[in-house]
């Protein structure tokens, strides 16, 4: 083929706001705690939330104080519990990432910068509520009491992995906690969660389902199915778009033509709220509101959780190739762990020393959990789930053709 000169093109392609070598200069937020009212969740119509969709629900101000109609009035104990889970998740993640770096784990994904999301939101729910997460809400499991050892066994894929090495690390499944198996295809859980919620209502049970989707994955058809079915059937579901600005290397500017997510719920008839995803109190309060609404039979809520993916997408990713390395430090929403810590200190219920003690205690917890887990088998040498598990639990009972294939495989 002969080389041709490219003609002029009018095609318009978005870009990220800042690229490596540039300085990330986020505008500071125009939104303040107290800006927005808190409508009656059981009666609220979508239209009444347009200010909430265009604004931002905040509770924790820059002065580390909690103010406004959305202040959930949590006790110091509850706040300390939240802080502890967030610290636990951060330390756990850091340790796992180090293990990955030293070849002891095949792969890992951190929740860094987003620890608040699943933890505050799960704490705002009832025990019987269903959790239908992505890979960036493992923290919900701590709230629901999952044993860290079993989480690590899953990541190692050893013989104690409850899902038997069938999925990559961080694809947790935790039935006892009503935490439904994480699936790699992004977005699918969002629409499925609506079905889980419809079933609860069909059975007339006081159960709510919460689910999350990324800014990136909101471009999948499942996002549209979820909002639409939730609106049409008034499902008791809490639909969260976690807008952490990035989908691997692709900025959220490629995920929507107008840069906003929350307001997308409005034309489906869903009250829609944007919330500061690094503000534990705001996130707790909005989730509690959505749960009240769902439980009242009025239907679903659409929430944009505004945050920033502070770390790499996963252990396979190198964000310095596509964004300024220090961008996460410039995020107007700050760091969720520090903000809750500072609030507790501000109200006189916490101190730097207690924080240090907490971190040390959890560090020990993670160390001993890892030791125990690895005692059941490490990545390099096992023991792993038996080869038969390739063929089991595919069906309720193994049909003859899988039995034959199993036999063939064992001979091979």
């Amino acid at each position: 083929m002969a080389r041709k000169e490219k003609k002029k093109s009018g095609l318009s392609i978005p870009d990220a706001p800042f690229r490596p070598g540039e300085e990330s200069t986020f505008e500071s937020w125009p939104w303040k705690p107290g800006d927005l009212d808190r409508p009656d969740p059981a009666k609220c119509e979508a239209e009444e939330t347009s200010a909430h969709a265009d604004g931002l629900v905040r509770v924790l101000g820059d002065d580390n104080k909690a103010t406004g109609a959305w202040d959930p009035g949590l006790s110091a104990d509850e706040l300390r519990e939240g802080l502890e889970h967030m610290v636990r998740l951060r330390i756990f993640d850091d340790r796992m990432m180090k293990l990955q770096r030293t070849g002891k784990l095949s792969f890992y994904m951190r929740s860094f910068g987003e620890e608040c999301v699943a933890i505050a939101q799960t704490m705002a729910l009832e025990e019987q509520d269903w959790i239908f997460p992505t890979y960036r809400q493992p923290g919900a499991q701590f709230v629901r009491g999952r044993d860290m050892v079993s989480m690590i066994c899953h990541c190692l894929g050893n013989v104690e992995d409850n899902i038997k090495g069938r999925q990559m690390p961080v694809h947790y499944s935790y039935k006892d906690g009503r935490f439904i198996s994480v699936s790699s295809p992004v977005g699918t859980q969002f629409s499925q969660a609506v079905g889980v919620a419809m079933a609860s209502r069909y059975k007339d049970l006081d159960e709510v389902t919460i689910t999350w989707i990324g800014d990136g994955a909101s471009a999948e058809g499942d996002y549209h199915y979820a909002l639409n079915f939730a609106g049409v059937f008034k499902a008791p579901v809490i639909l969260n778009v976690v807008n952490n600005q990035w989908a691997i290397s692709t900025h959220a500017n490629f995920a929507t033509g107008d840069g906003e997510f929350a307001s997308r719920g409005l034309p489906y008839g869903l009250p829609s709220i944007r919330v500061d995803g690094n503000d534990f109190l705001a996130l707790y309060a909005v989730t509690k509101w959505a749960r009240e609404r769902a439980a009242s039979g009025t239907g679903a809520t659409h929430i944009e959780v505004l945050t920033y993916r502070a770390g790499a997408h996963s252990s396979s990713d190198d964000p310095s190739r596509y964004r300024p390395g220090d961008e996460h430090e410039k995020w107007p929403g700050g760091d969720p762990v520090e903000r809750l810590r500072d609030h507790l200190i501000e109200i006189g219920e916490w101190s730097e020393e207690r924080q240090a003690d907490l971190e040390e205690r959890i560090d020990g917890e993670v160390t001993s959990a890892y030791k125990e887990a690895v005692g059941y088998g490490d990545m390099a040498s096992g023991p792993y789930p038996g080869a038969d598990t390739i063929f089991t639990e595919v069906y309720e009972e193994m049909p003859w053709h899988l039995e034959e294939q199993f036999d063939e495989a064992m001979e091979g």
Partner: protein
């Protein structure tokens, strides 16, 4: 015993499972108030209530996704995809999600959804109302695949599918809803008086995984499913060859023992289906048959059953796959 056409027997199956189990819930496009474009769910909403039998948005992906979630949360959804050609927007939810949830969660979660869908040609539907996409599902571990062919097996298989704790893709040969199809488009018989249209009113099952011997003979084994069962029946009669005609009924898992026994007896085998030949389920059958019957096969049975007219559907011609020819 009452005589039912396939629409009636499927309707009866749904009525029975709705009656018998509160966890059964039936939905899809136009299945509620109207009773389905093929009338399969006629009267069910009026009888069982609109919370149990209802219409949905026009979204196959959304239907399968919500069914998946309901299944996780203890229900037993039976959904309709209006034509099998329109199952593909839900393909990801079926092959990546529904099929894999039990395995991927280490058995913690599963979702016993039944997906009913009219398939196959012969109704002048052009290439988007005629496909028979069974082999696009038989490859995916975790799914059971069923293809009914008569009013009797339609009802019994559908009840088994709904009662199964595995997800089932349930193909209905729309050409045979109101009568068997013997291959001649100008000959339009009904199910009236057909022995396979004698259908008990009450609950019964045709087990998944078992084939039906539709004709008995000793010179050749013919394997077919869906509408092709009737086409083969006619063709076998016309040919004068003495054949076992095996109506496979279940494609995954299929009935190894019946197939092997028949081929050991006849020494010959022909496989007939509607879908395109390349990578059709006939290929799997042909490969499997010779894999397990090699030492029992005699000479190849030459050619396809006579008298089979070409399907009017482009690229959905009748396929004969002869593992020995």
């Amino acid at each position: 015993m009452p005589n039912m056409n396939m629409i009636q027997s499927l309707n009866s199956a749904l009525d029975i499972v709705l009656d018998g189990d509160d966890d059964v819930i039936v939905f899809g496009q136009d299945v509620g108030y109207f009773g389905g474009v093929f009338r399969t769910t006629d009267g069910l909403q009026a009888k069982h209530g609109s919370h149990r039998v209802f219409d949905t948005p026009l979204s196959e992906g959304g239907i399968l996704a919500t069914a998946f979630g309901m299944g996780i949360n203890g229900l037993r959804p039976v959904v309709e995809i209006q034509f099998a050609d329109y199952i593909f927007p839900a393909y990801d939810q079926i092959v990546n999600e529904l099929a894999k949830i039990r395995h991927r969660s280490g058995g913690e979660f599963w979702s016993p959804v039944t997906v009913r869908t009219p398939a196959g040609g012969g109704i002048r539907g052009g290439h988007h109302h005629s496909q028979s996409p069974e082999s696009q599902f038989t490859h995916t571990p975790g799914l059971k695949v069923v293809y009914c062919s008569t009013p009797y097996n339609a009802k019994g298989l559908l009840i088994s599918a709904v009662e199964s704790n595995d997800p089932v893709i349930f193909f209905e040969p729309k050409r045979c809803y109101r009568g068997p199809f013997y291959g001649d488009p100008h000959n339009v018989p009904t199910w009236d008086g057909h022995p396979e249209a004698e259908v008990p009113e009450s609950h019964y099952t045709v087990p998944l995984g078992e084939a039906r011997l539709a004709m008995e003979g000793d010179e050749c084994t013919v394997i077919a499913w869906g509408a092709m069962v009737h086409v083969c029946e006619q063709a076998i009669r016309d040919s004068g060859v003495s054949c076992d005609l095996i109506d496979l009924q279940s494609l995954v898992p299929w009935d190894r023992d019946s197939v092997v026994a028949s081929i050991e007896k006849t020494g010959r085998c022909v496989i007939v289906h509607e879908a395109p030949k390349t990578s059709g389920f006939g290929a799997e059958m042909a490969a499997s048959v010779q894999e397990r019957c090699f030492y029992h096969l005699e000479t190849p049975y030459g050619g396809s059953p006579g008298g089979t007219p070409r399907s009017p559907t482009p690229l959905n011609g009748i396929t004969c796959r002869d593992p020995l020819a």
